[in-house]
Structures are given as C-alpha cells and as structure tokens.
C-alpha cells in the first residue's frame, strides 16, 4: 500500500469579490498554493447564481499542514464575525508527499 500523509483541505465558498483578499491571507498564513473554482449557489444570503459574470461565487481549495490551519481559521472566523459570507469546511485528506505543502508561496 502507498503511504499517504495527512493534510487538511480547507474549503471556502464565497463571492468572487473577496478573491484577492483571501489569496493575500493564504500567503500570510503559509499556504503552499490554492485552487479556485467558479461556482454558483444559494445560502443564507440568498441565491447567488446569476451567472452573468458579475458578482459570482467562487469555491477555493487550500491544502495546508494541520499545524498551520488554526491561525488561518482564526483569520477566517474574524472575517465571518465582521459579516462576510464565507461558507467554510475542512476535510481530512491524504497526500503523496507532505513536503510539497510545507513550502510557502512567494
């Protein structure tokens, strides 16, 4: 069997207007990278699925070493408390080589 190393996969669903800001904070809290998917959806702030290209949803995925996750989540929680609509969830994942996710983005 292949040995898999545990990492945390952080998922954030929110408006694309927050993209730059969130990317800045991934950098700050030591992520090695991130992936963004375009999405539409519905939640407590109503439908966000105009798909007109203005004001769309994004879903962001960040794989992080478990020990860096906490500070990142604190930052996200502060944003949520200020009223930003972030749907956040964490998934346990296994990766082939954990070193890849230890290197910080420049």
């Amino acid at each position: 069997m292949h040995k898999l190393y545990p990492e945390k996969l952080l998922n954030i669903i929110t408006t694309d207007a927050l993209e730059e800001k969130l990317v800045a904070s991934f950098r700050k809290y030591g992520a090695s990278g991130y992936t963004i998917l375009r999405a539409q959806g519905e939640g407590s702030s109503g439908v966000r699925s105009d798909m007109t290209g203005f004001d769309a949803n994004i879903m962001i995925k960040v794989i992080m070493p478990p020990d860096r996750l906490d500070a990142m989540l604190d930052s996200l929680e502060r944003k949520i408390n200020k009223g930003y609509h972030l749907t956040v969830f964490i998934v346990d994942v296994g990766v082939l080589s954990p070193e890849k996710f230890d290197e910080r983005m420049r």
Partner: protein, 345 residues
C-alpha cells in the same frame, strides 16, 4: 406618444422577452459570463464613440458636467438614506448599502436611452458619457461613509441600552487583520480603478487620441453591430431582472415603492440640472435624468459586499435590478424625455 414608441424599440422588447422567459419558467439559460463580455464590448464601443466627439469638447462644459456628476453622486444616496431611515423598513446598514446604489448609474439603462434617442432622431451632447464614468465612484464612497455613520449609531444605541456589544467591531469600517482589507483608501482606490471605469475612460481617451484612419476601421465593430449587441445584452439582463422580480415579496411593498420613487425623484432632479445647470439640449437633458434615475447593479453590489458585509444583498439587488432597472427601461426613459420637453418649452 413617446412611451409607446419606446416599448416598440427592439432593445426594450428583448428586455421584456427576457422577463417573460423567467415568468413562464422557461429553461432558457444564458452562458456564464456572456453578459460580462457584452458589457465590455458596449463600454468599449460607447467610450470610443464618445472619445472621438469629446476630442473637440469644451473644457468648461466638461468640467461643469463632472462637477454636477459628483454632486448628484453624493446627494442622491444621502436623500435615499434619509428616506429609508424614515420608512423604518430596513436596518441602518441595509439603508446605507441600498442607497449607495442610487448614487451610481446603470450603463444598460443609459445605453437604452441612447437607443431611444437615436431612434427618435434626437441629438444629444456627449458630456453625459463622462458623467457616466464619473458617477461610478462617489456613490461607493458615500455608501462607505453612511455605513460608518450607521455603525456609530448602532454602537451608541447599544451603549445606551447598556448592551455589551463589542463596540470596536462596529464603530469604524471593520479593520481586518490583513491590515488594509477594507479601510477607506483601499476601497476608494478600488472604486477609482473599477473595471468598468477603466474600460470606459480608457476607450474615451483612445477614441480621442488614436489616428482617425485607425478609428475608421473600427466603425463596423463599434457602430454597426452595437444595436444588436445591446439587444442581446438587454435580453439577458431582462432575464436576470426577471428572477429578482420574483424576490419582490421578500422586500415588501414599501421598499418596492422606494425602488420606483428614487428614479422618479432622481429623474426630475436630473432634468432640472441638465436644463438649467448644464444647458443641454433635450437629448442631453434626458440622458442626465437617466443617469440620476438609474441605480447600479454591476459596480456597486460587489463593492457593498466588501464594504458593508452586514447588509443583506437580497434587498439591494432586488431593488436596483428587479425594480428600478425595469422601471427605467420601460417607463422612465420616455417619461424623462417628456419632462425634458415640457421644461424646455
């Protein structure tokens, strides 16, 4: 009768078709981003057009247009805010976010007005184009200021009530741990370098400085297919507006009324400013009225999501997109034209 001929414009008919498609629950779906591509094109085309004309503009009138654009952009949201407070239908922060939209403008409405004038053979000044570009920004700024004010009031009330709400969270524009996040200067820069503003102002400058022979080659792209693209854009926007229309019951009757009152009030103000302050022709006056009357649904919503995250987007999107936009396209434009004629006499 102007109102009828307006309804028989292809662009307006396509808007209505989009609304109807939603009402009959058609599975019609526009591909993601189509509206964005079309609006990039429309802003480019209208900018190039305006730029060529403005190359020979009178600087004094241009400056005066800019000044009046700023005045309208700052005043309208404040009026709106006070009315909303008086109505007691929404919270302070919602009131701030909603009213910001009315200081800004809707390019879609503006372009429909141009199609309307074109079709009626009415000439118009090009200065309103500059005003269109200018008015994106002040509304966002005043929205921020109103929200800051609202947060202070909320904090003050909480204190009075002996409430233990953490006032540092509400007093100021929320300061992020990422530092600059939503502080004022950051948001101001965002407003000034907003994508639509860049395209519009950039295209106007290019239209003004590019060599004429080069510009001529652009005519088929910029002029000839413009009306068709506008039809397609309004078709999709009608479809989007139609969905928001369905959210009407969520905002309630009084708030919906606000979405009609604001453009009427703004339009009247615009007609006066266009006629007496700017001395424009009837065509130009109509456009100024449309600028004042229309509410943003492109630039301001995401700005408010960032700056006033506490406000409920359903309110401002339904009002600006589901009520004010259709009202202006179908009723407002011919109405303001009529008013401009009446006053001009």
């Amino acid at each position: 009768m102007p109102s009828l001929s307006n309804l028989l414009l292809p662009a307006v008919l396509f808007f209505v078709l989009g609304v109807i498609a939603r009402i009959v629950k058609s599975d019609l779906r526009f591909p993601p981003d189509l509206a964005k591509v079309l609006s990039i094109y429309l802003l480019m085309a209208i900018g190039l057009h305006g730029g060529q004309a403005l190359a020979q503009a009178n600087l004094l009138i241009a400056l005066s247009s800019v000044m009046w654009a700023l005045i309208m952009g700052f005043t309208l949201p404040i009026i709106g805010y006070l009315i909303l407070l008086a109505s007691k239908r929404v919270g302070l922060l919602d009131a701030a976010a909603i009213s910001a939209h009315y200081g800004s403008v809707s390019a879609g409405t503006f372009l429909t007005a141009i199609a309307y004038l074109d079709n009626a053979g009415i000439e118009h000044e090009k200065y309103p184009l500059i005003m269109l570009a200018i008015m994106e920004t002040p509304a966002i700024v005043v929205g921020l200021l109103l929200a800051a004010k609202a947060r202070q009031t909320i904090a003050a009330r909480a204190n009075k009530a002996g409430n233990t709400i953490d006032t540092t969270e509400v007093v100021s524009v929320p300061e992020d741990d990422e530092g600059d996040a939503n502080n004022f200067s950051h948001l101001l820069r965002d407003a000034l370098t907003n994508g639509s503003v860049i395209i519009l102002i950039g295209s106007m400058i290019i239209g003004a400085i590019a060599i004429p022979s080069g510009m001529q080659k652009l005519t088929p792209f910029v002029d000839d297919i413009f009306m068709g693209v506008l039809c397609l854009f309004l078709f999709e926007m009608g479809h989007v507006a139609g969905r928001r229309l369905g959210d009407l019951r969520q905002v309630g009757f009084l708030l919906a009324l606000f979405g009609i009152f604001m453009p009427v009030m703004g339009g009247i103000l615009g007609v006066y400013i266009g006629t007496y302050a700017l001395n424009f022709s009837i065509g130009g006056v109509t456009l100024v009225a449309v600028l004042a009357a229309s509410a943003s649904y492109i630039a301001v919503p995401p700005a408010m999501r960032l700056a006033v995250p506490e406000a409920n987007p359903s309110y401002y999107l339904t009002l600006s997109l589901g009520i004010t936009f259709p009202f202006n396209v179908i009723v407002g434009i011919p109405l303001f034209h009529k008013l401009a004629q009446l006053i001009a006499v």
